[in-house]
Subunit: 169 residues, 2 copies
DNA sequence: GAACAAACGTAAATATATTGACATAAATAA
DNA sequence: TTATTTATGTCAATATATTTACGTTTGTTC
């Protein structure tokens, strides 16, 4: 009995280590294979994330830079770089917000919308199918649940993230 | 009945999208909060991953650059950069392998070992506790299982990764 | 109206990320 | 012995990442 307790106490750090290492590896592969999947369209995974976010109905009228950074959980400066390159490719545009002259609303252009709907969507769909092969619907839901929970914990660790608790999907 | 089937078909892409977006966000936060957790020691998350890997018993005698890159699933060139900075801080050393003069074995220095054992370990432990708050042992095991499975899928997607299927933990 | 705060662009410094490519030395295969 | 392959360092180009900081404009509070 006390051996069992001792064993399970010894197990937890190893599991945590293993879990985060796997997460690290998975992410490395996500970026590698994801970017490659969209090579034909010269879109990186971060650009993919931005474009995907902009397709959301809630962002159809445009989203402020700061809000988008908070949603994606990246720094504003880095996002600015990504946005600038997407703008250069005519996939997004920046517009002055009507109710606040300081604010810039980021939104998809027609070209960007077309890229997403006609070029990226099918590739992404195939990619997801391959990456989630063998995952049942229940598996997916469970994994989302775990990632959700972890994300909440990360946000609790980060003082700046508290103001953005509303950034739920 | 056909409505139910239709509904579950409609659900899968949304779940996949949601899952990968969560993964993306989690990773962004992992790097952000993880690096900050080790600010006192000026260690980034990637350096953490390298140092952690080098503490493995199997790598005690040193590990070749290419093997380490394959283990961590990062590019050789990027790893070289990380290693060079760790070497500059005297946390690792490179040694010519005995049985192959072309090969460089990467291993922890005494200083690196001490950094890991005495400085990083406690911080990491606390960090993991916080990041995995509310996760039971079973949750952790399931999460690892899912990540394992996904990693396998990613590797299947990547022609170069096939040679490294042995890189299991 | 003055003081303060916020939104964004920008700059700087540092670290990570990839791919493609090349050169050199060493190991392996023919 | 020669031809081929391999391990690593290096180069180049591009893209992402963070933090700290500053400046300008605009909005909000007192």
């Amino acid at each position: 009995m006390s051996e069992k307790i001792e064993k399970s106490r010894d197990l937890a750090p190893r599991l945590a280590n293993r879990l985060f290492f796997r997460l690290y590896q998975c992410t490395n592969m996500l970026h590698k294979t994801g970017t490659r999947a969209l090579d034909d369209h010269h879109i990186t995974t971060q650009q993919w994330a931005v474009l995907g976010a902009l397709t959301r109905p809630a962002f159809e009228g445009g989203v402020a830079v700061g809000d988008l950074a908070a949603f994606l959980l990246v720094s504003r400066q880095n996002l600015t770089g990504v946005l600038t390159r997407l703008e250069a490719m005519d996939y997004i545009e920046r517009a002055v917000a009507e109710n606040d002259n300081r604010s810039r609303l980021i939104r998809l252009t027609t070209k960007g919308r077309s890229l997403w709907d006609e070029n990226m969507r099918p590739v992404i769909s195939d990619y997801y199918d391959a990456a989630l092969r063998g995952f049942s619907t229940e598996d997916r839901i469970h994994m989302i649940h775990y990632l959700d929970k972890m994300l909440r914990n990360f946000k609790d660790l980060d003082p700046e993230a508290h103001a953005d608790k509303k950034a739920a999907e």
